[in-house]
């Protein structure tokens, strides 16, 4: 008996990924995020998060609010990691989905340590692109220098 009761009490780390409609302006974005935070902090503790940013979607999605259907090709994407008891998680998902500006949510179990963030990935990508650009610049003058030589040979 006591074992099952203890098991119920155990907290689990979850990650909530969400998409916010692009019709929300950049200035109003923090209010939407704070709505999500308030839902989570009712039943859990926030651990880590990344602020949403505008991203082009791989395919178009739609959301119906009242009688209007919104079809979007881009959305603000963000995520939040939190700790909560398993029995509260369904309620959290339901409440976040009920927020009007939220297009889609993904609630998953996640490891406690954060190994990936969009900001880190962007930095790594920029760092990888930099040396390539520098290499291209070095090669370019050599090629232009060779072309007049080839013209002389043809003549």
């Amino acid at each position: 008996m006591s074992i099952t009761e203890d098991h119920k009490q155990e907290v689990q780390v979850y990650e909530l990924g969400y998409l916010v409609l692009p019709s929300v302006t950049e200035d109003n974005l923090p209010t939407v995020v704070s709505k999500i935070v308030s839902v989570i902090e009712k039943n859990g503790t926030r651990l880590d998060s990344e602020d949403p940013f505008l991203e082009t979607l791989a395919y178009s999605m739609s959301k119906t609010i009242g009688a209007r259907k919104y079809v979007v090709d881009e959305a603000y994407i963000g995520w939040m990691k939190f700790e909560a008891e398993p029995q509260h998680v369904e309620a959290i998902k339901k409440d976040v989905d009920a927020i009007e500006e939220v297009l889609r949510t993904l609630l998953i179990k996640a490891p406690r340590e954060t190994t990936f963030t969009f900001a880190k990935a962007r930095e790594a990508k920029e760092a990888a692109e930099m040396p390539e650009e520098a290499a291209k610049e070095e090669i370019a003058p050599e090629i232009t220098g060779e072309i007049p030589v080839a013209d002389v040979v043809v003549e």
Binding site: G17, L19, E55, L57, A58, Y59, M61, A75, I77, W79, R104, L106, I108, A110, P111, T115, F116, T117, F118, A121, K125
Partner: protein
Amino acid sequence: MKKEDYFKQNKIDYIDYKDVDTLKKFLTPHSRIQGKRRSGIAANSQRGLSLAIKRARFMGLLPYLTR
């Protein structure tokens, strides 16, 4: 010859659905998930990979199909 497991080599224990650049390496030109023979990764990595790709598709980070 057996290919090395990409995720074991790079010491990635948890394959994150948000890591689109890594996930894209394991998609075919039609955006289908590469088979285990083609990807050459361990069975448990392949399971984690397919789950991560499916999550990324749901969130609009990866396409379901490319014609």
